[in-house]
């Protein structure tokens, strides 16, 4: 209790604040006179009281948190908030069951965007807004996680973003205090979201859809208010707008902020990831379009380019919108998209997966080993942005990638054992660990995750959490050393 109480105290505060976010759908429900109003009344009250109680109970043991407490706090926040977030769903539609509701909310808060719900078009607007709001709040949480908390905990070479590297990366810490940095980046995030809402409205969406899709795009969550996702609008203009904002969200928000403050694009040129992200996406769009067109899926190249661009960007950036059932494309195309989802997003973005910087570092590390064969006496540092990366960080990243692959293999085996077919199991694990959204076959864009058994649903919910918290944050809690004190 000595150890847990101060953490619970902070958790209580977070839940307390979280409860107020329920006021937005509540007001929407009042305004739209929809059927879910009572659900939000009760959820708000329960969450508020629970948060307050935790805060009050823990107050006696209040103290400064240590780095080690951070691991536990992050995990509790990321599992506790989804639990409270299920309340509106459970109260409105008790037949849904806690398993599915929890899957939905953790998918929302980890910005995965995998859904078990169908009939979205008929859902009360307040509930739809709640799903998207969770997406957006998850995105905010990730930004703090990425720029402040994970580097502090030193997860998987995340120290890279700390003070070790001079030059552009050092600027990642914009202000000396984490809280100030987070506020600046949230402002950036909110501003881009507002811009996206306006652009989507201009492109032809209703205000409500524009807000919801902007939330889902900037957080790279990928929920939609329609069962057929963005395919519902069937508008190239809307797809183009979303492509732009998904790509923006997949870049480092710190870079956006620097570019904004310096009023110049130089920040993007100095960012070691931007070139990789944009280059990979562009080359893949053209290549896969050509491939899909050659395979005869679409009669015209431009049509192929349109569908491939949107769906590929959506999956690669770990957003998860879909405008067509890409599951029906020749296998190579969706598989390549899943591969991209592992490496495309930047560190400090709202995307998931390994992150581009780790991928770049791993490639350079590989090249270094090859060069070492030829020049045994050579001193060959792995460089990012023109500066050598300490070996320690390279090792941390190697360990991270190893752990990531091991997790994918293990979870795929678990799902196979539970009776899922290989393509579904593998794609679901990849889509969840990268927080991308739709997988293939049974969990593909044409269907959703509703058909899975309870066990499979929980396994995938856990996978999303692992992916979002970058594995180590969760795994460290399973080590004996952590609990020994």
């Amino acid at each position: 209790m000595q150890r847990l109480a101060p953490i619970l105290h902070v958790l209580g505060l977070v839940i307390l604040i979280f409860s107020f976010t329920m006021l937005a759908p509540l007001l929407t429900a009042l305004f739209a006179q929809d059927a879910a109003q009572f659900a939000f009344d009760e959820s708000f009250a329960v969450t508020l009281i629970a948060g307050f109680a935790l805060w009050l109970v823990g107050r006696r043991w209040r103290r400064e948190l240590k780095v080690r407490d951070g691991f536990l706090l992050v995990l509790l926040v990321w599992t506790g908030l989804p639990a409270f977030a299920t309340l509106p769903f459970l109260i409105y539609a008790p037949q849904m069951g806690f398993t599915d509701a929890y899957f939905e909310t953790i998918s929302a808060l980890t910005t995965t965007g995998a859904t078990v719900m169908s009939g979205l078009d008929a859902l009360p607007p307040s509930l739809n807004l709640w799903r998207h709001l969770l997406n957006w709040l998850g995105g905010m949480g990730i930004i703090v996680l990425a720029v402040a908390i994970l580097p502090l905990l030193g997860v998987g070479g995340r120290q890279l973003l700390k003070a070790e590297l001079p030059g552009p990366i050092k600027d990642s810490k914009l202000t000396p205090r984490i809280a100030d940095t987070a506020k600046l980046l949230w402002a950036m995030y909110a501003a881009l979201t507002a811009l996206c809402v306006l652009a989507l409205k201009w492109a032809g969406m209703s205000w409500f859809d524009a807000v919801c899709h902007a939330f889902a795009a900037l957080s790279l969550g990928g929920f939609s208010t329609h069962d057929s996702s963005v395919g519902y609008f069937d508008s190239p203009l809307i797809e183009a707008v979303l492509i732009v904002f998904m790509l923006l969200a997949a870049l480092n928000f710190v870079t956006h902020f620097l570019a904004f403050r310096q009023r110049s694009l130089a920040a993007y040129r100095h960012d070691p990831e931007v070139r990789g992200v944009l280059g990979l996406v562009l080359a893949s769009c053209l290549g896969i379009s050509l491939y899909v067109w050659q395979a005869g899926v679409y009669p015209e190249f431009l049509t192929a380019l349109r569908y491939v661009s949107f769906n590929l960007v959506s999956i690669a950036t770990d957003c998860g919108f879909a405008s067509t059932d890409f599951n029906s494309w020749p296998m190579f195309a969706p598989m390549w998209m899943l591969f991209l989802s592992c490496v495309t997003a930047s560190s400090g973005s709202t995307g998931g997966g390994l992150k581009m910087i780790r991928a770049v570092l791993m490639v350079r590390q590989g090249v270094r080993e090859l060069e070492h064969q030829l020049h045994p006496a050579a001193r060959l540092p792995v460089k990012i942005g023109g500066h050598a990366v300490p070996n320690q960080i390279v090792f941390a990243i190697q360990a991270f990638v190893m752990m990531y692959i091991a997790t994918v293999v293990t979870m795929t085996l678990v799902l196979l054992a539970s009776g899922l077919d290989f393509i579904s199991a593998f794609s679901a694990v990849i889509a969840c660990i990268n927080n991308a959204g739709p997988g293939l076959n049974e969990v593909g864009p044409g269907t959703n995750y509703a058909g899975l058994s309870d066990f499979q649903t929980w396994a995938l919910a856990f996978t999303m959490l692992l992916g979002r918290l970058e594995l180590f944050t969760v795994f460290v809690l399973f080590t004996r050393a952590f609990w020994r004190g």
Partner: protein
């Protein structure tokens, strides 16, 4: 002239030696008593032990009535403070500081003068790096000097059998290359200098100094010898100040390998250099050189602090097949020993530094002085002042100027224009003359020739 030299390191000692030789009163200041006594034993100068940037030390060294202060200690900061002090407290008329750090070198024009009272900045590492870079650009040359911001170059090259011009009179140059204006300023034959005339015949083995526009240099060299293949691969031994600078300058255009034995230095170099392959090891390690294909190296530069190491690694590299080897050698005795043998070029860092300083202490307005052939000969860039009456030079044709025996005018820089000298070229006031002096002894005569007379005012 009364000159105070701060710092008795390599640069300071060499400087003192050449300045004493030119009849100056030298006081050397250093913290190390041993070094000072060594200097005092060898040369006719005074020494003061103390911190170079302390007012009391400077006063003791005679700063009150000194004509020039040359601050060449290892530390930029000490040099800058000493200049500031001698400007504020002692009013020494000419102040020169050695600066190593790029941070200071890259400050805007006039910053150091205004805030630190530095009249002239010298940077031995920079000079040597520039020298090396020019030699790598022209692998056939023994020496390359820049004039007029590099628009004209003075090049020393050895004539070989088979060069179209070898065995011919100099006046044939015009016939061989009608479009190219070049001027042979001097020829050294078996270490004896010759002032060439139109009928001088170039013999194989001659060391020919010629001056031409930058873009014409390869064409002229082709007349004198077979051309080398262009340099692609460079290996540098020693990652000190010079090695690092050179690698940084070359790595864009050449394939550079750099060897240093110190692990920490290597780590630093690998971080700072982007395309250079940094190798940790001993440059005299045969196995390492073989592993790194020294036989395919076009130019091998031995640039450590240690003369013996440089000579040995250069010899080894040459023996193992490196095409051309350049070695940095501080001791002048060694330079004479190895140059022209297996080591193709020996560079003395001291000589590279002394030149710019000499131009400041000479009488007359000298824009630049370069020492050649280990200080025996000099190339001067002289600014001509006065008019037809007050000057013995202005308004006359080059052929009519009474130049002392053993000197020749090679070119005239007039504003933006460069004129290769001919007999009938007219000299104007404010021209910069590039003048070759075969022998140092005639320098006073040259100084006198270019002095503006006062009798007519």
């Amino acid at each position: 002239m009364k000159i105070i030299i701060l710092g008795a390191g390599q640069v300071g000692a060499n400087l003192a030696a050449s300045l004493v030789a030119e009849n100056n009163d030298i006081t050397v200041v250093d913290l190390d008593a041993e070094r000072l006594s060594l200097l005092q034993d060898r040369f006719d100068l005074r020494t003061v032990r103390g911190h170079a940037a302390h007012p009391s030390t400077l006063k003791l060294a005679g700063a009150d009535d000194a004509d020039m202060l040359v601050a060449v200690t290892q530390s930029d900061e000490t040099n800058l403070v000493a200049c500031r002090l001698s400007a504020t407290l002692f009013n020494i008329p000419t102040r020169i500081a050695r600066i190593r750090s790029n941070d200071f070198l890259e400050t805007e024009e006039g910053f150091l003068a205004e805030h630190f009272g530095v009249h002239h900045v010298i940077s031995p590492e920079q000079e040597v790096t520039d020298t090396l870079r020019r030699l790598i650009e022209h692998p056939e040359a023994l020496q390359v000097l820049d004039f007029a911001e590099g628009r004209v170059r003075l090049v020393a090259v050895r004539a070989y059998h088979g060069g179209p011009l070898v065995g011919h009179e100099l006046q044939d140059i015009k016939r061989h290359m009608p479009d190219i204006d070049a001027r042979v300023a001097a020829i050294y034959r078996r270490d004896r200098g010759i002032v060439p005339t139109g009928i001088t015949v170039i013999e194989p083995g001659d060391e020919v100094f010629f001056l031409a526009r930058k873009q014409d240099i390869p064409a002229v060299m082709r007349e004198l010898r077979r051309m080398e293949r262009p340099v692609k691969r460079v290996m540098i031994a020693g990652g000190g100040n010079i090695g690092r600078r050179l690698a940084a300058r070359l790595e864009r255009d050449y394939e550079v390998k750099l060897i240093d034995h110190n692990k920490a230095t290597c780590a630093l170099l690998a971080d700072q250099l982007h395309r250079t392959l940094v190798l940790q090891g001993d440059a005299t390690d045969e196995e390492l050189l073989e592993q790194e294909n020294v036989e395919s190296i076009d130019v091998f530069c031995a640039l450590t602090n240690d003369d013996e190491d440089n000579i040995m690694s250069a010899l080894l590299a040459k023996r193992m097949g490196a095409h051309r080897v350049i070695s940095l050698i501080n001791r002048s005795a060694y330079v004479n020993l190895v140059q022209g043998g297996e080591i193709d070029i020996a560079i003395s860092p001291a000589q590279a530094t002394v030149g710019p300083l000499l131009s400041k202490i000479r009488r007359g307005d000298m824009a630049a002085v370069h020492s050649l052939r280990r200080g025996a000969a000099e190339v001067l860039e002289i600014v001509v002042h006065g008019d037809l009456k007050t000057s013995k030079v202005v308004g006359r044709r080059i052929g009519d100027v009474a130049l002392p025996e053993g000197s020749s005018i090679a070119a005239i820089i007039r504003g933006e224009d460069v004129l290769i000298a001919h007999h009938d070229t007219l000299i104007w006031a404010e021209d910069h003359l590039i003048l070759f002096a075969l022998n140092k002894r005639i320098i006073p005569k040259i100084e006198k020739l270019f002095q503006v007379g006062f009798g007519f005012f």
